[in-house]
Symmetry: C3
Subunit: 310 residues, 3 copies
């Protein structure tokens, strides 16, 4: 690869550790991985290599996506898909478990319920660590595949209009995503009920980064001037009053009727409950299953870079 | 392959979707797979390919058999061995889970407790779907391996005398098997307690297909004129009265003494409880572990056909 | 391999089935495996081969270590990481499950809670069986990796001074290890509270083998003349009185202060609770994570020998 010499991540812990060059390096490499991800081409680039999958919290999509990526590149995985309660609660056990597994494998992917777990692990082991979600913290491969989806479908990330919709207060995914979008100078709209607004701290950071942001409670305010509607789930548990929840939920649900006539695409990190109607799935608007697919070439790019270097 | 050009299954959902040519295509290909299944020959025909294993109900044998088949052919698997209750109960989740997984893999094997689940899935995804058991419904790879076992051990399927023994009322396996046997003009005996007779609808279908069928309650009526005794489990739950169950169970149990002097083989889809005595296991009659082995070349044939075409 | 022609283990059930030549054969082969275990070299020696992993009891370390070993050699694994209660309790099911799995795979690794389970299984199947722990019984690959660790770090096993510390009464690991060390003429010290002394039967056997053994209750008696401190966990459940447990535990805990000035190494089969202080982990004394790594080349040597012959 001659197009970029600067990638210097030893671990993938937070998207905020990435420079714009780091992001572009991964996205460019992901594009080269696509024929392998589509099963049009076989690869043995990671033959003999082992990826340790330590999923202290269950996650079908992220786990299967990383496993698929490793195996499409000729590598193998070992690990566990969910931890006994005992291992999760004792910090000491986490320490020894990851030290031992790091003696077996070439890289570790970890999902853990404790914020900061992935960075803690990266400090104590000698192999690269990839954060696949640490509680309320980071999930950087999700952010990278979100960016890749925009680039592949819309041709670029720069200067897009991206509207983030739903729970912007608690959503881990959107918090990571907005910092990454800000790096690319994306114009953002934040659409949420007043109770679930984007946290002030993040709004402040974005303002300092010189990013244009608009806040609203109504999808209709943004739908005609958005290139991307990035929808997230509103969780019932956030509302003390179930009736309040029902009323609000309806206002942040997308269906085909609402989308018709627009020129936007709909993305979602999945799983959804009912914030996107099923009639959107096979329409020209619904891109969330394609987005799920793009997780494979992006994670291939991450795995190759972490295990083989660049 | 020039011996047959007609296989047109895009999915493997029910043995009743198969023509006799389809069945013979798979059985012939399975024979070519045997040296690989026996580990005498390595294969890379499915290198780089990924099989999604979605087991919403646990199944050690079927799952390990499909995994072994995929891996012996150089391919890989991803998936889960048992689903959380939540995913099983919500139809919507099944939809999104299989759509997402279908973005990662080259084919899906699914076992689900709901009858019709596999066909439902095959309608919504773009990769081939193989039914590994859907509740009271179908389990076509079991039927194909049953047929293959008869062909390999007895040289042919046509004109055999096959006696099906045990629970013929509720047994999913035997319901699929009899339609397949009927295609080959097999003479069938149905041996069961009166409470667990073959359903009238199936008897009617077989009669229309011109198949010779005899019903009896006594194994001794058939044991000397059977080429195959296909034994199934009688479940205690079918009987309100435990004494009735105990009495009946004994009359449908095979042991070596009963078999001596006959020229039959004993098959069983497994797992058994005690309907076949252990003294039959290593006798010339007991073929159920060999039958389990034949599941591998048959599933290899299925996987190659579904993933690589024919 | 011309250096040794005598290995005649068809299965790996107990270290006590091994001659000293058998042990040395595995240790020499493990040394050749190290570059593959370190991911410096890829191997396809077990390509197309399948290892059945039947873990009736969960075990992260042993399971991941065997899986890594198989996959680094180009092979694959199938199996389960923990059994439903039903399969564990019924002897009949164990019989049928292992018979069926043996029809799919090239070798079986089994962990089971019943002492003798692995030998029972090896008697009924036609593929090699490797015992990965059977209740209070044997765990021979652990003993082999313990020996390998001593040989690799200290250059030899013969004539070492090895002190075994902690629960010597119930510890499965140390019971296997002392017989193996005795074969190599190792001088042994047994350091334990009086309640947890090495059983008389084993002391008697060692005496008959002409091995020098010293017993003490105090680590300080041995620490300056030990090449190896092999530490094991003292389980709370062994003591009716919790205060007694707390008092004793402290006397069998190693920390850096105690070790300073000595020329010993510290080994541990893991997992530890707090019998070794974390300040030992990265010191020159702590070798237990390196010991965990050595499990991979040793198990590779076992797998190659069992599956490919020697």
């Amino acid at each position: 690869m001659v197009f970029y010499m600067g990638f210097d991540q030893e671990n993938i812990i937070s998207i905020r550790d990435f420079s714009i060059d780091d992001v572009e390096y991964i996205l460019k490499l992901a594009e080269k991985m696509e024929p392998i991800a589509r099963s049009e081409k076989a690869s043995n680039i990671l033959a003999g290599k082992i990826l340790g999958m330590l999923f202290y919290e269950p996650s079908t999509r992220t786990r299967l996506s990383f496993e698929t990526s490793m195996k499409r590149l000729g590598g193998s995985t070992v690990g566990f898909a969910e931890a006994g309660v005992s291992s999760v609660t004792k910090g000491e056990n986490l320490n020894d478990t990851v030290k031992i597994v790091s003696e077996y494998v070439d890289a570790i992917v970890i999902r853990h319920n404790m914020e900061g777990a992935a960075r803690y692990v990266s400090d104590i082991v000698d192999v690269p660590v990839i954060n696949a979600g640490d509680g309320a913290g980071q999930h950087p491969s999700q952010t990278l595949l979100d960016l890749y989806t925009m680039k592949r479908i819309l041709g670029q990330i720069e200067d897009l209009n991206v509207s983030l919709i739903g729970d912007l207060k608690y959503g881990r995914t959107v918090h990571s995503l907005v910092y990454a979008l800000a790096m690319f100078g994306v114009n953002m709209n934040f659409v949420s009920p007043p109770e679930l607004r984007m946290p002030q701290g993040i709004l402040h950071d974005l303002s300092k980064m010189g990013v244009s942001v608009k806040e609203t409670t109504d999808i209709k305010d943004v739908i005609n001037r958005s290139d991307v509607l990035y929808v997230t789930r509103i969780q019932k548990e956030r509302f003390p009053d179930p009736e309040e929840y029902s009323r609000i939920k309806g206002a942040y649900t997308l269906d085909l009727k609402l989308l018709e006539g627009t020129e936007t695409i709909v993305m979602h990190p999945l799983p959804r409950i009912d914030e996107i109607s099923h009639d959107v799935d096979n329409s020209v608007y619904g891109k969330y299953f394609q987005q799920a697919f793009y997780g494979v070439p992006v994670r291939m790019a991450i795995l190759q870079t972490m295990i083989k270097g660049f």
